[in-house]
Symmetry: D2
Subunit: 334 residues, 4 copies
């Protein structure tokens, strides 16, 4: 961590700041130039509150050399993490296909879809029981009953299930859920993240709509700081000025994350684009870019889906996506 | 609400969709052109799930004529709402000055600041007890103890207090708090909003970092749908590409909101800009633009503040802001 | 085109507006509801100035059903355009590899790189002669001499050359250039676009840093309106809040454009990400997503390149990219 | 300027880079820590190409301490610049009101508006002769004839005139124009900026739609590097995700620029918001924030304006804006 001091900082002021840094258990390397005095702060600089340091009167600017995340950081954990999910794995050599409807609607629907997507290559089943909707007047999900139906579908097909949590008080209902999803709008719901850190469940952490990669990793860090290291990151599009797609899929986040962290990264092309017609090309792009998997909305009757219909694929379309992705994975391994 | 149908929609399909809309208790006005068939949907169109309608195979596009928010909508409530807060008012003819530190640090600190800002014109005291921090390793606030200290400061000065909630389970601790703040990161924490809708406490609802004005009003609607209409909106800067300021203060949101809603809107120039030196000009701009008040970070020792130091004013600087704002308000009334 | 009128529009006003639309040679389909009066405007609605219509006192809002671009529109030209470039083709079945340095530096450099990239699969040579730099104090390119050196390299290798124009007055120097590039910063330099519309040269039109897909197609339309239909679109990243990459590659633009236009779309992963290490995965993603080609910075001595060094590949790295891309293209055709 | 070197840089590599910096006439202050080696580069660091330095293999990151702009920099020119414009002044104690229509349409129109706005307080007349329009099919302005009509209006009223240039080849037509405007879309048309640097005309430089304050000042620097220091900056809204307003007025840019540069900054609330109803509150906000003036669209028949009608004020509305602004300016001086 480097702090550049303002011109005119007195020796007494400089001593004061160095002393304060020492009290945090860190070393300081002082470099006094004609024009500029620079402090190099060495040690576990996560102890230094960057805002506080910048706020000191004699400090012109502060630059972190090392990233503020630690448990998620590849530097301290060079090998890829592989997250074990009830008999299957995410990350490493595996490629994960999570498929299913936006909302669980009925037993018939969810079991029907589960069987179809399993036959076409899905390795996990998704389905929303608790739904975060922008409007209080829109359908909010089947809630506890939705989870029951997902567990029925799991029993029928053996597919592990992924579903979203919106409230830590609901955790008891998620006891048999295989992967708990944190949605984009809750990425910085730190109270929820802390509670999930106390579990040992695999967490699928979606990127917030307008959150930087660094903030996303800090949210992973909240969960990991509690002792739960089973995290799957999921890029689902960011908010930009472009309006042809619902959001803008930040495909380069895959490459950046592979460098910064050991956690697996998957892509949700359905929410990123908001249109079924763009899902296949974006899924292929994700596989080519090195993502560890895909999360895709599939509905057996997309035009009557209770939410997010326009972006759902039919099972047959999902099968085509899986086939295309497997061609690319095979070609790149060759 | 207008639905434009695709070329080639058959009469049978059109009848089907009209029938479905009728089942929602709405009327349809059909306009069949050579090139385009248009359905005008009339009645309480909040019953129509826009995503669902767009998803129908024969629908090309859907356009809402009326806004999806109702309780917050000025059309159904033409007069400005005035929110009563323990003997003072927000909105209407009043101009509100909320001042205080980012974090409550000690009894001496919070009582000292409270006395100073009251003498200089503050009408409410702010102070963070539960702090949402991007990093799990940063200072997280004094929590329950912080609220106790705020209540001490209230007892000493009579100033109503504003403080942030991060978890609905903490509500019992907020019983004596005058205004409960929902922070930017929780603006779409719908579970929290629903719980706050069950109280009758005034809620200060901050705009999310990258949320549209419409989404913000829908979040107000979540609280109001529960029966709590005591909402104060607070603009605190949005995320853009510019980096000289921490966020970009969207000053025009004040004008837009005055048109769309009857709820009062205040401005937080401290968080919007992230720099003490920009607070005064932005506070003056807010007053000139017609904001109902300001929320300003004030610390008696800004360079040692435990968080957000660089953006805090000294009490004396706050006094200058209040003086400038009052000059503008007086001049515009003349 | 649909115009929704305000409540309270009088019959006389409505007749007035209909009459005006008739004078433009268009038909109007009037739909009068209890709550809303709607005008459906039919015919060549490009004649209607949308801003003007919205500005009329009785108009509440205007919605275009058809896109404002015509020559670039796939609806009127369903087949993919294939742009002929001096013996090679862009679009259709071909996949284009444009490679070369950011700036032309010397005869030795440009001929050396040209030979190497040709051997590794490049189908065109790029190199900057006129360089748009943010700072007037940065290297501005070799200008006319740079073009001479590119033509030397073309003579040696047979590779067609692509280079950027910044000023229509320079057109005479571009007479033997095969493809003229319009850079991101000039995407809406309408005077330059009009001049290029008078030539019949293939134009590589880069997307502006913060321009929508619609604006981009309107800029293509400027060139096409002059009679030059030889346009290659190039996505090079858009400006967002994320800072780990220089810009955010909008990979979904490929899919959107394939739907909206018949013009070929290529991707520039070097400028989009700003980092050599991210070029390969993004190039593979582009190929998988269906791009018609790639434009990649290659330098034989990246660390000493006079501009944009950090994002340049070595020729060997370019070879690996081409190999990976070809694997994917082959796999997807299988 | 600070360069942080990578761990593992050898002494020989470090010597090499220091030597290279010396050849640019700069000094280096070396600080070797256990973990990090840092070079402090001292002198006129504008000579260092930041991209090039970052590109060197052993460099981890580069941070500029001083800004890359020089002529525009307040550090080297502490007093506010006052731009003389044909008998009036922009900046300093003056507050400038530039008013007039988006497009010049006829002699009657422009002279009529000029007389009205002058009587109501305008100090300059604006009017578009060459119009940058997104679509080639929209009205492009009266061109040379428009400038003639503006000069007629100047003769009648004495108001200096402001009009936009789109092509350096048109400069001879601008000989009698008082202030030449560079539009947002041409802010990085460096060839145009260089030509304007060779004149001594006052230039009104609008901020690009998605350009940072730093890039904007670098564009001013392009003009100033040619010897023309008569620059007025004009903020006109930036592109964000919000859609209720056409763009988002970045009001804090006024404060940032007052700190960074000595050049005067004015605000264009008409283009920033795109709606007449928001112009007055934003104009008041601009005055309160310390802007040096306003540029406002005024039309005597806004609903029939040939472009940008919805955002034009009537002369009477402009009069109200001027009155409100003057109240604020007077109050703040008291």
């Amino acid at each position: 961590m480097i702090a550049v001091l303002k011109n005119g900082a007195t020796d007494k002021q400089i001593e004061g700041i160095i002393e304060w840094i020492h009290t945090l258990g860190l070393e300081v390397h002082l470099s006094k130039g004609h024009y500029q005095t620079i402090l190099g702060i060495i040690g576990d600089t996560q102890k230094v509150d960057e805002d506080l340091l910048s706020g000191l009167e004699i400090v012109e600017s502060v630059k972190r050399i090392s990233e503020p995340f630690k448990s998620a950081n590849r530097k301290f954990h060079p090998d890829d993490s592989v997250i074990k999910v009830s008999g299957t794995e995410v990350g490493g050599d595996a490629f994960t296909f999570i498929a299913g409807p936006c909302s669980v609607e009925s037993e018939e629907q969810i079991i029907g879809i589960a069987k179809e997507v399993k036959a076409l290559g899905a390795t996990m089943l998704r389905g929303g029981a608790f739904k975060p909707r922008t409007s209080p007047y829109d359908f909010q999900g089947l809630k506890a009953e939705g989870i029951e139906l997902l567990l029925e579908a799991k029993k029928e097909t053996g597919l592990p299930i992924v579903t979203e949590i919106m409230n830590a008080n609901h955790l008891p209902m998620f006891e048999e859920v295989d992967v708990i999803q944190v949605g984009a709008r809750n990425m910085q719901n730190f109270e929820l993240l802390k509670e999930l850190g106390r579990t040992r469940k695999p967490i699928l952490l979606k990127r917030g709509l307008a959150n930087t990669i660094k903030e996303w990793l800090m949210s992973a860090e909240y969960i990991m700081a509690g002792g739960n290291e089973n995290i799957i990151l999921c890029e689902r599009g960011i908010r930009t000025f472009e309006t042809y797609t619902r959001n803008t899929l930040d495909i380069s986040a895959v490459s950046v994350l592979k460098e910064l962290t050991h956690l697996p990264v998957i892509i949700d092309p359905s929410h990123a684009t908001g249109a079924a017609k763009y899902v296949k090309p974006m899924a292929l792009a994700a596989a080519a870019a090195g993502a560890a998997g895909l999360m895709i909305e599939v509905h057996n009757d997309p035009v009557h889906a209770l939410c997010d219909g326009p972006q759902s694929l039919t099972p047959a379309q999902f099968g085509e996506v899986a086939e295309g992705v497997n061609k690319i994975l095979t070609a790149l391994k060759a």
